[in-house]
Amino acid sequence: MGPNGSGKSTLAQVLAGNPSYQVTQGTVTYDGQNLLELDPEVRAQNGIFLAFQYPVEIPGVSNAYFLRSAYNEIRKAKGMEEVDPLEFLDLVEEKLKLVDMDESMLSRSVNQGFSGGEKKRNEIFQMAVLAPRLAILDETDSGLDIDALRIVAQGVNTLRSPENATIVVTHYQRLLNYIVPDFVHVLSNGRIVKSGGKELALELEEKGYDWLQNVDAGAGAAA
């Protein structure tokens, strides 16, 4: 969590390897590897998934083809056989239900003409199919009405397991009523200024970010 401009989305983009961000110092270790040395597609093949704050449209490319390509690339990287379109269809059917989407969305172009809510649900759907080890949800709750929020949260909760981890980026406590976090970290000015359990989110909701910015100022001065 953290106020606007605190570096939440930057962290998400850096972990995913967006080339527009340059890491000037520090390291990121993931599964014993230096993550920053890996290309974005290799990170994805190693189980990192970013649910985009602003999912991108790709006209003329169907969701089914797009997602099957991704799925097969990840399988290939693991030395597994690719799946054909029919097998893939069987596989995704139940995942669609998870986010309350219709099969017809598979033949529509990637995110084109999707409402804000549909785009976010599509991100969660992709996550469900690709089954990442580390998922990063970048403000997936922004722009969602309460029903869509519930659907997205349900999707995330269903996929939750001891085998994987999810970083949920948000600045509202609202989402955390549905997705109960194990840990809450608060970012300010690019640093974690406070960590705690789920009750930290509630405390923030009550006191506002100003409370922590003061803490941050103190920490900054001390450093």
Partner: protein, 478 residues
């Protein structure tokens, strides 16, 4: 731009090899003597020579046009060679007689003139430099009364058909390059589908320019008689050479009452190097005439090669209720220039035309769509739908659109849609974040952009077209 895009757009041209073969070549330059020589070499009847000379005399009075949005140094027409033929080509009884070197060339290009195409159900006519080196599947077609052969053979064996239709769609005086072609064309393909016959397989011509300093001037004439239908494919490649080579072909299509002609091109002439040196000048006149009622002519083109492409496959909609279509993907990269589009001339009542043009510009390429929709006074109820979309890859390329609309009948309905988009780093990153490589991502995005056109191509060609753009088959059907 990401390295993936650059790698994709800077790939080597795979067909740039030269075949070492003895040729029968006439001296460079153009005069009546050369034309008589070409006509004599081809043992042509008098009407052909007369037609050539008429075109030549007309050509002398014409000026090379310069209205296209393309730039190139002046062409010296007297330094070109107007006829070059592999020496071993005599009238062939069977493909076994074709020079093995030539067969190897076509195999290298992925075009087997022998069984493979039989299995694929495609009849092929292969044009090497100026002459046809082999036409396959002729017997099977002959049983249905379909004539598919080189133009030269058609002149020998079916002069009445040639005389009846030659120049009826693109007259000898049509334009500078068409007149030049009429004067010196050396060969090409000819197809005639008789009344009521649906041609059961794709007819295909493969063009290859091999010799240096040679102009290629082939002429294709396709006639679908009443109720007939035919689908025709054209492919082209050329070796890499430092100098430019001129390709000034003419294609005429004729559809009589209730007939359908579908003509698809995948053009992959050598485009020149990164500095813009070498490559083919592709100045081609392609036109179809829907002469009969309820007839239909459909052009589909995928233009990826040539230093300069300058062509407008057009349809004259003369018969009532006739339909004209133009589906085009034009890709320019490096220093390539393309000025391409179509003309739809509505003459008959309730005629309908559709234009879908997709221009992709990369590197320092310059892509122009130029289209004319003309509705003449008697064309009651004419309809046109035009869509032209441009995609830019990188920031040194250009995309231009020049639509012309002339309507002289107020019952006409015309629609025009246009868009320009840029392939974004955000799109590439989105794909990469899902595990897809940059190269595959670019293919996927470009393929999605071209989807409406690719779905018009016959299956074999759709594959080739997509491979040309570095795309898997799945891209179009997924």
């Amino acid at each position: 731009m990401g390295s993936g895009i650059e790698a994709l757009v800077n790939r080597e041209y795979a067909y740039g090899f030269v075949t070492d073969i003895e040729t029968d070549t006439v001296p460079a330059g153009l005069n009546e003597g050369i034309i008589r020589l070409i006509s004599a070499k081809k043992n042509e009847p008098e009407f052909m020579l007369e037609w050539r000379l008429k075109a030549y005399r007309r050509w002398l009075t014409m000026k090379e046009p310069h209205w296209g949005n393309v730039k190139y140094p002046a062409i010296d027409y007297n330094s070109l060679v107007y006829y070059s033929a592999p020496k071993s080509v005599k009238p062939l009884q069977s493909l076994d007689e074709v020079d093995p070197e030539l067969l190897r060339t076509y195999e290298k290009l992925g075009i087997s003139l022998t069984e493979q195409k039989f299995l694929a159900g495609v009849a092929v006519d292969a044009i090497f430099d100026s002459v046809s080196v082999g036409t396959t599947m002729r017997e099977e077609l002959g049983k249905l009364g379909i004539i598919f052969c080189s133009f030269g053979e058609a002149v020998q064996n079916h002069p009445e058909l040639v005389e009846k239709y030659l120049g009826t769609v693109v007259p000898h005086s049509d334009n500078f390059f068409a007149a030049l072609n009429a004067a010196v064309f050396s060969d090409g393909s000819f197809a005639y589908v008789p009344k009521g016959v649906k041609c059961p397989m794709e007819l295909s011509t493969y063009f290859r320019i091999n010799s240096a300093n040679t102009g290629q001037f082939e002429r294709t004439l396709i006639i679908a008689d009443e109720g007939a239908s035919v689908s025709y494919l054209e492919g082209c490649t050329a070796p890499k050479r430092d100098e430019n080579q001129l390709h000034a072909a003419v294609v005429e299509l004729i559809a009589l009452d209730n007939a359908t002609v579908k003509y698809s091109t995948v053009q992959n002439w050598y485009a020149g190097d990164a500095e813009g040196k070498g490559g083919i000048y592709n100045f081609v006149t392609k036109r179809g005439k829907c002469a009969g009622v309820n007839s239909k002519i459909s052009w589909t083109q995928v233009e990826t090669g040539s230093a300069i492409t300058w062509k407008y496959p057009s349809v004259i909609l003369q018969g009532d209720n006739s339909v004209g279509e133009f589906y085009s993907v034009a890709v320019v990269n490096k220093k390539q220039q393309a000025d391409t589009g179509t003309k739809m001339i509505h003459i008959g009542k309730n005629t309908k035309s559709t234009i879908v043009s997709k221009g992709i510009s990369a590197g320092e390429g310059n892509n122009s769509y130029r289209g004319l929709v003309r509705v003449l006074p008697k064309a009651e109820g004419a309809r046109n739908y035009t869509q032209c979309d441009s995609m830019l890859i990188g920031n040194k390329c250009g995309a231009h659109t020049f639509p012309y609309i002339e309507v002289q009948n107020n019952t006409a309905t015309l629609e025009h849609e246009a868009s320009t988009s840029k392939i974004g780093e955000d799109q590439i990153f989105y794909c990469k974040q899902r595990g897809v490589s940059a190269e595959h991502a670019v293919s996927m995005i470009v393929s999605g952009f071209c989807r409406e056109v690719f779905k018009e191509l016959p299956m074999e060609f759709a594959v080739e077209a997509q491979q040309l753009l570095g795309i898997t088959l799945e891209g179009s059907v997924g």
